[in-house]
Amino acid sequence: MSGSKAVKVKKKIDGNAFLLLITIVLFFVMYIAGVVIFNEQGFGKVQNFLNLFISNAGLIVIAAGMTVVMITGGIDISVGSVVALTCMLLAWMMELKGIGAVPATLLVLVMGVVFGLVQGFLVAYLNIQPFIVTLAGMFFARGMTAIVSTEMISISNETFLSWAKFKIYFPFGGYLNRKGVMIYPYIYPSVVIALIILVLVFVMLKFTKFGRSIYAVGGNEQSALMMGLNVRRTKLKAYVLSSTLCGLGGFLFCLNTCAGFVEQAKGLEMDAIASSVIGGTLLTGGVGNVFGSLFGVLIKGTIEAFITFQGTLSSWWTRITIAALLCFFIVLQSIFAAVKEKNKH
């Protein structure tokens, strides 16, 4: 009895789950290393851990959307530009057009849906390569940002700022500061939204018909078609989901920056892709997990925290380290794939 159980467990931990495990272990090892090295500067504080989520709330949501698209075997490189456009539109509507914070937010979400519909239509129904379509989307969104305004617009809408500054305190984990006042760690609502979205996407992927068909389409489009799945509609929905989450991610991003400008979130698409890949998503499709992507994002955040705490290293070390990690994970994935292939024959 127990023997068969062990076999079951062993079977469950296949290459992909193992990769995810490595990602999670790596994150904790890195974080603990940071706590040991930079203990005096306060790396080990609960707040520092929460800051990882606060500064990357938008990216968590965007990476979740990216993961969904990547599972279908596609890619969406328009996300960084869409975030910039979202922030710019939010700032422009609230500051120059006098639109309230709530309608402005709803409008940018609608914008995300429309953006996704167009991209999804081109990819799914016209069979144009996702890379080219979303590349055009990237140009379009970045250019539109510049058409809305080439100047930076800071947000001063009170409702919006109250959302951005609203702190949710934890009832524990506090410490006494120099004046002897208890300071509790806090998060912003953006973190709560990001985590809720993450769980929702996870549940959707695991337990809904739509989620399962995404895996099926990514695993083998032909088989999915033969099984009677609507491949095109599934793909379209995946792109709509990605762009919608992008609009939402842009909103969360904007809560952090409270401004819109043309150069905003440049290169964010690569951060999202890197996070997904580090989290175990295969670009060939069919494999992926949004929680892996979460840890991908957290690893990126930890590297950034390392560099901030170290103080003397310049910010481009972040990119080099992420690239090295990417290289490590990609090579690992290919080794697993090769082993799998061998076992098949």
């Binding site: 081109l122 016209l126 590349l135 055009a136 510049a146 670009l283 080099i320 990417l326």
Partner: protein
């Protein structure tokens, strides 16, 4: 009618049509677009500007075409490789100083170092793609992410200037030549590559590997070696493009050299009617695609569109062009035109 049909089925028909359309727009909006003036034996004008500015893109597109054809994937690291090469060349020539007015090392040494680095980058990408069988876009994502960081590392985070007239030659013009030097660099690259592809069997090998790598291996082609070689070649092209780009501004600006060039190069390949899925390719198509992109950009500048806003129009044009080339839409058109023909046939009968 038959002639027209023959013309429309000609492979380069759509790419050339796109280029002509872009130029036609100019005929209406900016009539002086085609004006060419001569000063000191040099030609000037918008058209010359297009020919000049597109050079790096043409060089990159040549390399990209082969990589796409053989591996069915895109190399997104070429822009970053350009920055690394520029950084290395300028740093070798400046001997580690930030700004020099004379070479501290021989010119040829700098060039060789730059080309060597480019080839090494190509080998790295090629190894990941061909030997480890990693998706090209993901494999090149590594250098894409790290490249500019490495370039910063090489130049110590500064912009290294080489203020020597000799260094500027590759990116400007020399007396006696009516057209700028970069144009000739691009033409030489295209001619040499075409000759290699036509005079040896390598072009056919690349197509064969791109269509079916496994089958090619079974008939005796070393598929992975051919894919590897295309990536080395792609790296070399990025190196040459980096040299020209760096020579234009006689410096190594790690943040800006080759910025977003990889995207334009991939676009050029797609606009040239090449499938990004690999297989059959047309080098001339990509070259025309590259000139189309630059013509479009210059057109927009001539129409006084600000550089931040150019991408919007670029995106719209790109979507229209790739949609026109989409097999799905072609099928749809065919269905409808066939329907019409059937109606016509009935009338005749």
């Amino acid at each position: 009618m038959n002639k027209l049909k023959k013309l429309t089925t000609y492979r380069l028909f759509l790419p050339i049509l796109c280029l002509v359309l872009v130029l036609l727009v100019n005929l209406i909006t900016t009539p002086d677009f085609f004006a060419i003036s001569v000063r000191d034996g040099m030609l000037y004008g918008y058209i010359i500007d297009v020919i000049n500015r597109a050079s790096e893109l043409v060089i990159l597109a040549v390399g990209m075409t082969l990589m796409v054809a053989a591996s069915g994937g895109t190399d997104i690291s070429v822009g970053a490789v350009m920055a690394v090469v520029a950084g290395v060349v300028c740093n070798v020539l400046a001997g580690g100083e930030q700004s020099v007015t004379q070479y501290n090392n021989p010119y040829i040494l700098g060039i060789l170092a730059g080309i060597a680095v480019a080839v090494i980058c190509g080998c790295f990408n090629g190894f990941l793609v061909a030997k480890l069988k990693i998706q090209p876009m993901i494999a090149t994502l590594i250098l894409f992410t790290a490249g500019r960081g490495i370039a910063q590392l090489v130049t110590n985070g500064q912009i290294t200037y080489v203020r020597v007239d000799h260094y500027k030659v590759l990116g400007s013009s020399i007396k006696g030549l009516p057209l700028p030097v970069p144009f000739f660099m691009a033409i030489i690259v295209v001619i040499v590559t075409t000759l290699i592809l036509k005079k040896t069997a390598i072009g056919m090998y690349i197509e064969s590997v791109g269509i079916n790598a496994k089958a090619s291996r079974l008939v005796g082609l070393k598929s992975s070696k051919i894919i590897f070689l295309t990536y080395v070649f792609g790296g070399l092209m990025a190196g040459i493009a980096g040299l020209v780009a760096s020579s234009r501004i006689y410096s190594a600006d790690a943040n800006n050299i080759g910025l977003n060039m990889e995207l334009d190069a991939i676009l050029a390949v797609a606009l040239g009617g090449n499938s990004l899925g690999g297989g059959k390719f047309s080098l001339m198509g990509s070259v025309i695609g590259a000139y189309t992109i630059q013509a479009l950009t210059t057109t927009l500048y001539a129409m006084h569109v600000s550089s931040d806003q150019v991408p919007v129009y670029k995106a719209i044009v790109v979507v229209i062009i790739v949609s026109l080339q989409s097999p799905q839409l072609k099928k749809w058109f065919k269905k409808h035109s066939l329907g019409k023909k059937a109606v016509n046939g009935n009338e005749v009968a």
